[in-house]
């Protein structure tokens, strides 16, 4: 019991890297005003060097919400779909889904985003749908790879122990495939953070906004502020996933 507590503390201790990035991200979104001096050096010609149309915290919140929502749906649908096509009832669809997941990843995310707009209009909805669709692919592919990569002997043993198909899925297949699935989720979320920023061009307000308006108005300082925050967000998310992956691998 006490050993468990110690291990818990140990694994918590490893979280300092993502937490440090998160702290930096939040500090910068709150205290961008402190950087006014350096920014003025970069952009001496403009009257405003600080992006003030919306607070950075609100933009960050929007960004995280859109990516979070799309990624959550993508995980549910992706893992669910991949599990469904590896069951006996859905096995007919397995070759098609496998092919689709690999062909789909050739599609550039920007193109998918651009195609969502004619279909769904401007605003946040097409971005969520585009991120969801694109984010599905790595998750489906990795879940399939994870489940199919399990040694058939393990399956046989689980069945021999009298486990039901549901138990095999929950207690054997998913835990064994978890590291691979998590790697897929990581890829998916990383792409989504980046693609969501481009969503600012189709009318979503998020951290891409300062960049787009900076480019349009020729204001490098705006661009820098947006770029810094998006970069920090991406690094925070990625380092958190790295941590998570290590834990899952250790538990497996």
């Amino acid at each position: 019991m006490s050993g468990d507590v110690v291990r818990q503390r140990h694994s918590l201790a490893g979280w300092w890297v993502p937490l440090a990035w998160l702290a930096l991200l939040l500090a910068l979104s709150l205290g961008m005003g402190l950087l006014e001096g350096p920014l003025r050096v970069i952009e001496p010609d403009s009257r405003d060097v600080l992006y003030v149309r919306a607070s950075f915290l609100a933009l960050l919140g929007q960004h995280v919400m859109v990516v979070g929502l799309a990624s959550l749906l993508a995980v549910l649908l992706g893992v669910g779909g991949a599990v469904a096509v590896t069951r006996p009832a859905g096995r007919d669809f397995l070759p098609l889904v496998t092919q689709l997941a690999s062909i789909g990843q050739t599609f550039p995310p920007v193109a998918v985003l651009a195609l969502a707009v004619p279909a769904l209009g401007f605003g946040t909805l097409p971005i969520v749908v585009a991120l969801l669709l694109y984010g599905l692919l790595p998750i489906v592919r990795n879940t399939l790879a994870g489940i199919q990569g399990i040694d058939p002997g393990v399956h046989e043993a689980a069945r021999g122990m009298g486990m039901t198909p549901g138990q095999i899925l929950r207690q054997v297949e998913l835990p064994l495939a978890a590291p691979v699935i998590l790697a897929g989720v990581r890829t998916s979320v990383t792409i989504n953070v980046a693609t969501a920023a481009i969503g600012a061009t189709v009318g979503a307000s998020n951290l891409g906004d300062p960049i787009i308006s900076g480019i349009v108005n020729g204001n490098t300082a705006y661009v820098l502020q947006g770029a810094l925050l998006i970069g920090l967000l991406a690094i925070t998310v990625d380092s958190a996933f790295e941590r998570l992956q290590r834990r899952v691998v250790r538990q497996g």
Binding site: T190, A194, L224, G231
Partner: protein, 384 residues
């Protein structure tokens, strides 16, 4: 085996039934009198009447019927029907176009996009079930493309996408050129640099650790942010160093785009080259040494050829990724097909968006197919 085969193919059944429902219920086209007015959606039966609309469901129901007993020859017949459907779509559109007034613009509605998607899925499914080779699979698309091309040249002038193209045909060709030049030069440079880096990493563990650390970190940064972060330093450099400015380097344009592309391309390139060189079977190397080959000969005649397919895989991943990233680079004025996407989004001209997005997807798919085929070919050459 016979029993397994006579089980209905659920995939084709579902695809075709969804297709029939979509065709009869969703808007197939939209017709606008000019570019400014948004189009009015029309369903298939409203555009050319119930007769033609119902006639079009026959092949789809035919495929579904054939899929009920999926013997090989049933599937072959289904394949012919699906290819026929794909080729018939532009003909149907031509029929619609003939009924329109001269200036009106014809847009594809959700039903047609969905049908295209479903039929292509059916094609992929049939290709997999019939175990057709990759080149044969692509050859199946030839009659379809031919039908689209002939119809576009002859009757489909009102198609809005084609109108957007006609206005900008010169620009379009130029944009494809710019896109390819940017992708090609960045991937080429990444290949040279990546191979050197991979070789250095094989020599020294320190280089490996630091190199992969930096490249992994770089890959995490979203492209739009990296473009933005390169903007200020490059603008500063261009203002200080005259010959750089003379070369056309500035905060916006091709320079930051190219640098960012190079940075993103290095990771997959280095990783694949490194892994490929490492994973050559030690026994093969041993045998080559035993035959009296020098260090250099072993590398050039054994290790490199054996590693080539995996290196090529790296080039494929890198190029496909770069084609997509270059689209984003249009935001910072690097040109290329992404220009149409962002122009179109800015003007709310959706056909212009398509004019950028569709060729980008086509380019990515073509490069992917070509390089995969090349890798397959090299692998076969390596084993025989």
């Amino acid at each position: 085996m016979q029993q397994a085969r006579s089980k209905p193919n659920a995939v084709l059944l579902v695809l075709m039934l969804v297709g029939v429902v979509a065709w009869l219920t969703l808007p197939a086209i939209s017709v606008a009198p000019n570019r400014i007015v948004p189009g009015t959606p029309q369903r298939a039966q409203e555009a050319l009447g119930w007769g033609v609309a119902l006639l079009a469901t026959v092949p789809m129901l035919g495929v579904a019927t054939l899929a009920w007993r999926p013997f090989t020859w049933h599937l072959r017949a289904a394949l012919v029907l699906v290819v026929g459907l794909l080729a018939a779509m532009p003909l149907w559109l031509s029929g619609v176009a003939a009924t329109l007034e001269a200036a009106s613009r014809l847009g594809l509605g959700s039903a047609l996009w969905l049908l295209l998607f479903l039929w292509l899925l059916a094609l992929i499914e049939l290709r997999a079930r019939l175990a057709l080779s990759r080149p044969l699979g692509w050859a199946l698309l030839l009659p379809v493309l031919l039908a689209w091309w002939v119809c576009l040249m002859q009757w489909l002038a009102p198609l809005a996408l084609y109108r957007e193209y006609q206005v900008r045909s010169d620009q379009f060709v130029g944009a494809i050129g710019q896109h390819l030049a940017l992708v090609g030069s960045a991937v080429g440079a990444a290949l040279l640099l990546g191979v050197c880096l991979a070789l250095a990493m094989r020599r020294r563990a320190g280089v490996r650790r630091v190199g992969f650390g930096i490249l992994n970190f770089l890959q995490t940064i979203p492209s739009i942010a990296l473009f933005g972060l390169l903007l200020a330093p490059l603008a500063w450099l261009a203002s200080r160093v005259e010959w750089l400015a003379a070369l056309g380097v500035s905060g916006i344009g091709w320079a930051p785009a190219w640098l960012a592309l190079l940075g993103y391309s290095l990771l997959p390139m280095v990783r694949n080259t490194f892994v490929a060189l490492e994973e050559v079977d030690p026994a093969v190397i041993e045998a080559a040494r035993g035959m009296g080959m020098s260090q250099r000969q072993v590398f050039l005649q054994v290790r490199l050829p054996l590693a080539l397919p995996v290196v090529l895989e790296g080039i494929r991943i890198t190029t496909v990724q770069a084609i997509g990233l270059t689209a984003v680079a249009a935001l910072i004025g690097a040109g290329g097909l992404g220009t149409f996407i962002f122009q179109g989004l800015g003007q709310a001209a959706m056909d212009l968006v398509l004019l950028g997005a569709l060729p980008i997807i086509a380019l990515a798919l073509m490069v992917d197919a070509l390089l995969s085929a090349l890798a397959d070919w090299l692998r076969q050459g390596g084993t025989t």
